[in-house]
């Protein structure tokens, strides 16, 4: 079994003249908790969408768990074990939180196991107080939690999280960070984040995107000392 869970080679996505993702060579080892950072428009979300088949690459290759998934439809990639939380909550607004989780758990589990799985996620994420409310009527942070819960209920081997702590309170951010560390015991995680506090709490290796390319890839401490990274990204916000 190879140590590399996911890699991309020369991955390119062009929108018209814009290179949203430009010749990206990305390697992810099994069991990592990787952070992606970069200014807005650096191509992080596009990269996630390419990985999950939500958009098709212009050229290049994506390999997951030894399998070429470059032109594989979204639902098949999901079946291989990639779960994603998109940047804006992507949930079933007209259904209750419980039904949202049920749909997620039911795909990979038999009926009874699915119910147990849902209960487990509710307990783990402390969703009980609002789980039977309609998701469309929930606060932004609560919808984020529901979506994270859906990803967890599927028990994927790779979890992609696009700004999981956006719209959350400081306390919730800490909880999210701890949760990711906990989840990391059993699965590989890639997180897109802007909050450096959050990143320092969880990250080991950080990959910096800039203009569709990978600018740097190093340990979080090194990244924060890197003058070029500070220049394109960190310099513009407070580094705590």
């Amino acid at each position: 079994m190879t140590d590399v869970l996911l890699n991309t080679r020369q991955l390119v996505k062009r929108f018209g003249g814009l290179h949203a993702t430009d010749t990206v060579d990305f390697d992810l080892r099994r069991g990592e908790l990787r952070c992606l950072i970069g200014p807005n428009g650096a191509g992080k979300s596009t990269f996630f969408k390419l990985l999950t088949g939500q958009i098709q690459p212009t050229s290049g290759k994506i390999t997951f768990d030894g399998q070429d998934i470059t032109d594989t439809p979204t639902y098949q990639i999901a079946r291989l074990g990639i779960g994603i939380k998109n940047q804006t909550p992507d949930v079933f607004d007209g259904l209750s939180g419980h039904e949202n989780l049920w749909l997620a758990a039911n795909f990979s589990h038999a009926a009874v196991a699915a119910r147990d799985q849902v209960d487990q996620v509710i307990a783990q994420l402390k969703l009980a107080p609002f789980i039977h409310r309609q998701v469309g009527e929930m606060a932004h942070g609560q919808r984020q939690w529901i979506e994270i819960g859906m990803v967890m209920a599927r028990q994927p081997s790779l979890i992609l999280l696009d700004e999981p702590s956006a719209g959350m309170s400081q306390e919730e951010r800490v909880r999210t960070a701890d949760l990711l560390l906990e989840l990391n015991a059993t699965c590989t995680i890639v997180v897109v984040e802007h909050d450096m506090q959050f990143i320092k709490r969880i990250a080991d290796i950080v990959t910096v995107f800039h203009r569709g390319k990978i600018l740097r890839e190093a340990h979080v401490d090194e990244i924060m000392r890197d003058p070029e990274v500070r220049d394109v990204y960190l310099g513009r916000q407070e580094v705590a």
Binding site: P73, Y75, G83, V91, N106
Partner: protein, 353 residues
């Protein structure tokens, strides 16, 4: 106790039917099959039968639109097809059991083919609606153009604008010498609606149905969870096609007559009005919608109001403005609030089923 039922009116997806719901079905069946027929004359029975026949078409629409999120503007394609298939095959074969089944199965097969191209061709939203409308209008045109004597299927002339008169009544399958009379057709149509209602309710509580509602809510998220939404959409389209075909077949049985209007724009629009007025994301709503609109249409006719279509349009606009979700869900929500207020419950709390 009753609030279980009201909740069922509002959003009968996901949860398994409760005992109260089953009692409700039995009670309604009792009223419609035992009590009501005793109070009705034959003419009234005939009028009421068509409400139930068309209710099947309305159910097909609400299942597809209200639950699966696919607005088909052309469920009439399968309705008309069912009617014509029954008429032509019954007149050729001389029996009616096989034609009755064909009237359901052929529209399903047609829906499978059409649905395959529409769903797998990734026609979404408005293109889907337009395509379905175009298909029914094409069929309408095609059937209208069959007035010549060269348009014959077996011994039956298709008759163009005039349709096919003298469609044979349904025979009892085990006793072909006996044909169904007006009251028998009434009973059959009530039973079919009850079966369709219960069947759809159970289907929606099943895994398939719950995923379908997920298709309506967020197709992309469903794919990201590993479901292939296209399979569910196609499945729903075929089921809805079969139901519309059944409705068309029964329509031919009821009126002993089929005509190109079955495919027409007027009927296609009517289906949408029934479902919107009654409540598209419920199963009772469409049935109530058909009843209301049919009776309103008949009543306006007897009052000598010429502009029936205009009045129906105003009713539609009023319904959309006053009861956004439709009559039945609005009523259900209202009753739910009342009972909860009386019980002193927190209206935001939902009990675990």
């Amino acid at each position: 106790m009753l609030w279980f039922l009201f909740r069922d009116f509002r959003r009968p997806s996901g949860e398994r039917p409760t005992v109260v719901w089953w009692l409700f079905v039995v009670a309604v069946a009792g009223v419609l099959l035992v009590w009501l027929p005793g109070t009705l004359g034959l003419a009234e029975m005939l009028d009421l039968s068509v409400v139930f026949v068309l209710a099947l078409l309305a159910l097909s629409m609400s299942f597809l639109w209200g639950y699966s999120g696919m607005l088909s503007f052309g469920q009439t394609a399968y309705f008309g097809l069912g009617g014509y298939v029954y008429a032509v095959s019954a007149m050729n074969l001389g029996t009616t059991t096989v034609p009755f089944l064909l009237g359901v199965l052929l529209p399903m097969a047609f829906a499978l083919v059409v649905g395959y191209f529409i769903v797998y061709g990734r026609l979404s939203d408005v293109y889907f609606s337009v395509m379905t409308l175009v298909i029914t209008l094409v069929l309408n045109k095609a059937v209208r153009a069959t007035s010549g004597s060269q348009y014959v299927v077996g011994d039956v002339r298709l008759g163009g604008q005039n349709g096919i008169p003298g469609v044979p009544p349904l025979q009892v399958p085990w006793d072909p010498a006996t044909a169904l009379f007006i009251d028998d057709v009434y009973y059959l149509s009530v039973i079919l609606v009850l079966v369709a209602y219960v069947g759809l309710r159970l289907a929606l509580a099943s895994r398939f149905g719950r995923v379908l509602v997920g298709v309506r809510e967020n197709e992309k998220r469903l794919a990201l969870l590993g479901y292939d939404p296209r399979r569910y959409k196609l499945g729903a389209f075929v089921i809805a096609g079969g139901l519309a075909g059944l409705s068309g077949t029964m329509f031919a049985v009821w009126g002993n007559f089929v005509a190109p209007e079955m495919f027409g724009l007027q009927r296609a629009a009517e289906v949408i009005i029934w479902v919107i007025v009654g409540g598209k994301a419920t199963l009772i709503g469409p049935i109530v919608g058909v009843g209301l609109i049919q009776y309103l249409t008949t009543w306006l006719g007897t009052q000598g109001v010429g502009q029936v279509t205009l009045v129906l349009g105003i009713v539609l606009i009023a319904a959309v403005l006053l009861f956004r979700e439709g009559l039945v869900p609005t009523l259900g929500t209202l009753l739910l609030r009342l009972t909860r207020l009386r019980r002193g419950d927190d209206p935001n709390k939902r009990d675990e089923p």
